[in-house]
Each structure stands twice: as C-alpha cells, then as structure tokens.
C-alpha cells in the first residue's frame, strides 16, 4: 500500500502578527534613541568603551522589544572571518560509533566557541564541492571519509581563507592535516587473531553496497598483510546486506573450504553467521567468525561474536587540533594515526 501524507484540517491561526520586515541594529538604535555604534557596543559588551547603565538598559529593551537578532553574514563580512567549522555530511551510512564521535566533536568545538555546520553535499563531487564549501568562508573544514577532497580542493579552501583543513580518512591529502583512520589495522587485527587461533583458510567479506569500498578494501588488505608470508590463504567474499545473498554464500560454503571468516563488521557477521548456522555450518567448530565495531548485538548472538573493537580519537582531541591549526595556520600539517583496533575475543572464534 503506497504511503501518502495526510493533511489535517487546521484551526485558523489566531491572527499571526503582521510579518514586518527584519529589524536591524539601526531599528534598535532608533527605538532606543541612540546611534548604531552604541547599540553595537552594548550588545557585544565592548570592553573598550564604557556605556552608561541607563543607556545599556534602553538598548537591551529596544532589542528585546523588536526581537532583534544580529545578522551573522553582515557581522562576519565586516569582521573578515567567521568561526564556522564546516563539515561535509558523510554520504555513507554511519554507525553509532561515528555518530557519537561527531556529536562529541561538535560539543567540544562548541566549547571553544566555534559553530559547527554539516554541509549536505549529496550529489556534489570533488572540487566542485570544495568550491561550494569555500563560498561559506569557513575558518576550518573537516572532511570525513575518502575521495571527497583532493589537493586541488585543499588549495581552493585555503585560498578562500580556511585556516585549517583536516581530513579524517584512509589517506592523507597534500596540504591538509590528516587524521589517518587506517582500516587496514582492523583487518590486520582480525587476521592475526584468526591465525593465532590456528585458522589457515580465511575468508574476508567484502560488502557489495556502494560507498563502503574505502573501508572494506583496506580491511581486506590488512588481513592479507597479517597473513603474508605464512601458509594461510585469503579468500575474498562479496556479500550484499540481504538474506538471499548470505544464503547463496552459505550454500557454497563447503566448496569454499574455509575455516574462518572476517565478516567486515558485526552486522555482516550476524547476517553471515545466521546463514551459516541455517546451512548446518558449526560456528566456531567448522568456521570461526569475527566481526568488527564491537556493537552490542554481537554480545547477544550465540555463540557470542568475537569482534574488533575500534577506537576513534576523542572529539576533544580533534577539537584541540582544529583550534591549534586555526590559531597557527602557518604550521606544517600534522598527520596522526587515530584508529585503535583491538580484538575482543568471545565465542565465535
């Protein structure tokens, strides 16, 4: 049944106030009987000038009466800079880890008096996107994920006045600070663990969903690195996040002849583990399974799911990096490795 929006009959609005034009500081000045300069001094608590108490009150009252709100664009135009930190909204589906990281970061930057803004860049690419961001003249740009930004983009942003450009992703970009999230470490962790548990024929799930390659391929590669030079084999296992796809994969499990699988993350692990169990494959006896992300759901599976716990940098640390970079734009870009990966061994491996 197709879904439609249902309009609800509305009681007539109780004569909403006539939509006057937007009040400016000049209006406030007029009402308070002072000059615009005075208004500015009062509302910004200018310390350089002393304004008499009665005047202050009159200005505040006028401002409140008019519902005056300063115009950020005019202000930053005059000031020549803003305190906006722009962050392109991630285009890939984000898990709870990342969401929490973002909101922690926003909070921390807020404490430092920055305004964080996520820019919805769905469908805008590469340097075009960088130009769009640059139009807003942010003081700093924080780019999550890969690909959305090249060296060109960094140049555009810096030219437009951005005092800090920071990438969070697998690669570092020339000219920008980088928080290197090396997902290879996740795969390496998982691979080593499985190897240590005596497994030698190891499968690695590679999600078929788009936008995940930049995580899945490094993870795959990390497993390969962990196993390099040993007698273990690595088999790539494309898998879509659907029951059918998992069932198909499980159906050819015997012929694949694997004794372990790193399932990309806990969600794919749950999907695959279920399919395997339904197909009569015993976990971990026949095949060990390990996921990643350390979600709650892994603890609830039977057997309990082994996983790779991922630790992102604290929002506070990143906020401080941004602040440092803004205060000292000349400094050489810093590069940090910020992805901690540790195995949480439970029952499935």
């Amino acid at each position: 049944m197709p879904y439609v929006m249902v309009q609800i009959p509305k009681t007539p609005a109780p004569s909403s106030p006539a939509p006057r034009s937007v009040p400016t500081s000049a209006d406030v000045a007029r009402l308070a009987g002072v000059s615009r300069a005075t208004v500015s001094y009062v509302l910004n608590n200018a310390s350089a000038v002393r304004i008499s108490e009665p005047t202050r009150r009159r200005v505040h009252e006028a401002a409140k009466e008019l519902g005056y709100v300063p115009h950020a664009a005019a202000r930053s135009l005059r000031a020549g800079h803003s305190r906006m930190v722009l962050m392109p909204a991630p285009s890939f589906p984000v898990g709870p880890l990342y969401s929490q990281f973002i909101s922690e970061l926003q909070w921390a930057l807020g404490r430092l008096d920055y305004t964080v803004v996520q820019y919805g860049s769905v469908g805008v690419h590469g340097d075009e996107a960088a130009r769009a961001w640059a139009e807003l003249r942010p003081v700093a740009v924080l780019v999550p994920g890969p690909g959305s930004l090249g060296p060109q983009g960094v140049t555009v942003l810096k030219r437009s006045g951005a005092r800090a450009v920071v990438t969070l992703g697998p690669h570092s970009v020339e000219g920008a600070h980088a928080l290197l999230m090396d997902h290879g470490a996740v795969g390496h962790c998982a691979g080593s663990h499985l190897f240590d548990r005596g497994r030698r024929r190891i499968g690695v799930v590679v999600p078929e969903e788009e936008g995940l390659e930049s995580f899945s391929l490094p993870r795959l590669d990390g497993v390969r690195r962990a196993l390099h030079g040993s007698d273990a084999t690595v088999t790539e296992l494309p898998l879509a996040y659907e029951e059918e796809s998992a069932a198909r994969l499980a159906a050819r499990w015997r012929e694949l002849d694997l004794d372990a699988v790193f399932a990309y993350n806990d969600e794919y692990a749950m999907l695959l583990m279920r399919a395997l169990q339904d197909g009569g494959v015993r976990v971990p006896e026949d095949t060990a399974v390990i996921g990643a992300d350390d979600l709650m759901l892994g603890r609830l599976l039977r057997p309990r799911l082994s996983t790779v716990h991922i630790e992102l940098p604290s929002g506070r640390d990143l906020a401080e990096l941004v602040d440092r970079a803004v205060r000292n734009p000349g400094a050489a870009p810093e590069t940090h490795k910020v992805l901690g990966a540790t195995v949480v061994h439970r029952e499935s491996s």
Copy 2:
C-alpha cells in the same frame, strides 16, 4: 589501555604557495581589466546584459587564475535572502531509517537549489538555539524531534526572515508547519496486534536512555489506547540498553506474569529476547515479543522477530512542502500526519 593519538613524522611540505589574501571580485576585475560590475555579470550569466565574448573569456580566465570563489555572506547580504535550509542536527542517536530520510531530503532540496546545512546545536537549548539559528538568516528551518523549539522560537525565526519553519516530531508548534510523527501509532499497532493474537497481559519496554522519552512515552501510550476498554493489562518495563539490565528484567519475568511484550524497537527487542531465552522463557509460546523499525537484524533472530514497520515521508514530498512554503510564506501552516505504521508479523508473536 588508554588510547592516544600518534603523530607521524612529516616530510617538509614542498614550499606551499605564499598564503596571499583572499581574492575578491575586484581583484578579478583588475586582472581582467574590466569593472566589478562586468565581473558580476559574467560570472552570474546575467541575462539582462550582453557582454562580448572576448570580455567573458578574459573574466573567466582571470577568475580561474586567481582561484576566485564568491563570498556567500556578501552575496546574501546584498540579495537580502539566502537559499539556506537550516536543520538542527538531531541530538538523539539516529537509526538507519532516519539517516536515510535526512540524506534523501538533502538530495531533494539540493535539486530545488537549496543548500542544506545541519547546525550542531549540542548543548544549546530552546529559544537560545532559535536565536543562534536565526543569526544565519536561513530561508527555511527544519526542526527534527521535540522540545527544541517553542512558539517563541518560531516567532524569532520568522521575524528574522525565515519563510518556512517546519517541525518533524510528536507535537505541532504554533505558527510552524508540522510533520506529525505520531509514535503513538506505532504503539497502537503493536498493542492491537498482540491483542489480536490473544495476548492479554502486555509489557511495554521503556528505554532508560535519555533523549528517547519523546518516542518511548507516545509508543507506550499508543499501546494503552489500543487496549483501552478491553480486559488486557499494560505493564511498563524500564530497561537500559545493557545485558545486565535485561538479565535483571528477565529474572523477574515469572512474577511479572506477562504473555507479551512490545520492546520499544528491534534493538531492545533483541536484547530482551536474548535475556528471556537465556532465562528459559519460550518465545512466542510463553511470551510474545514484538519490536519496531523493521531492521534487518529482526529477520535474523530465531524466532524471527515480529516488528512494526515505520514509514517516514519521502524526502521529495517534504522538500516540496518546504519549497511551497518558501514560495508562499503567507499561507496557513500545514499539518500532516506522516508516520505510517504497519505490523510485520513473523514468528515471535
């Protein structure tokens, strides 16, 4: 083991170009040997004036050479309006449903030539938040969730020039368009279903996590409404999203004497179901369980989890509502019911 950021030694940057000051349209004009007006005409493809082809080329070349990017603040200051749609970033953890809704909405608004910006308002409240948003002079404001906006806030926003204020949440706010997401419907659905399946002693999980009350309480209430006037009983079950909490709840299950439970959503359902099964309670024989959100994980549980499928409005529809409201700000606020809830009956109920 506490986690620390590891700095990587950096090869000296290859003499990054001297950070000149930000180029303006005046710089472009100078370089091209024309006036600023001409630059503006060329770069905006002004149809009212004809500029000769050679001039156009010179301007474009100058702009490219300088890496000129227009200054959005200056532009919108002059224009008297922007096409920014501001959306406070939700403060509660969002699931895949909502994420996808947001990104669809962004895409649709982008098609209509709006710029969507999520404003990070963690830690800013009520009317203070509305003021902060108003400073950016957005053409429209889209407020997800409850509480963050009162009638006062709507007034502030409208006074500051917002031509449309839309709330997405449980309540409608005076003066604003409302997309009513009545989570009572979810509970009602679940309650009716359990009743129809012959259950009479019905528990309802209420998450203890903060920020979820505005969803959980209406859902609880919806169950109550569905069962009102019948012989069924409703028992409130506080539950934190932790194994221990679930185990404690499961331990007193016999004494609670329930034959069904609506577990708030699929994740809490999985948590509780696991605890119940571990405690020897058979699902669905002893106790029926139903979740909500229709996540993939529910299909993977055994028994397969019954759930309430929630349908949000399409991003396109909402984008059109916003566009309509912007074009016709005088119109009375529309109120739409936009939450579709239907039971997906599987094996757990």
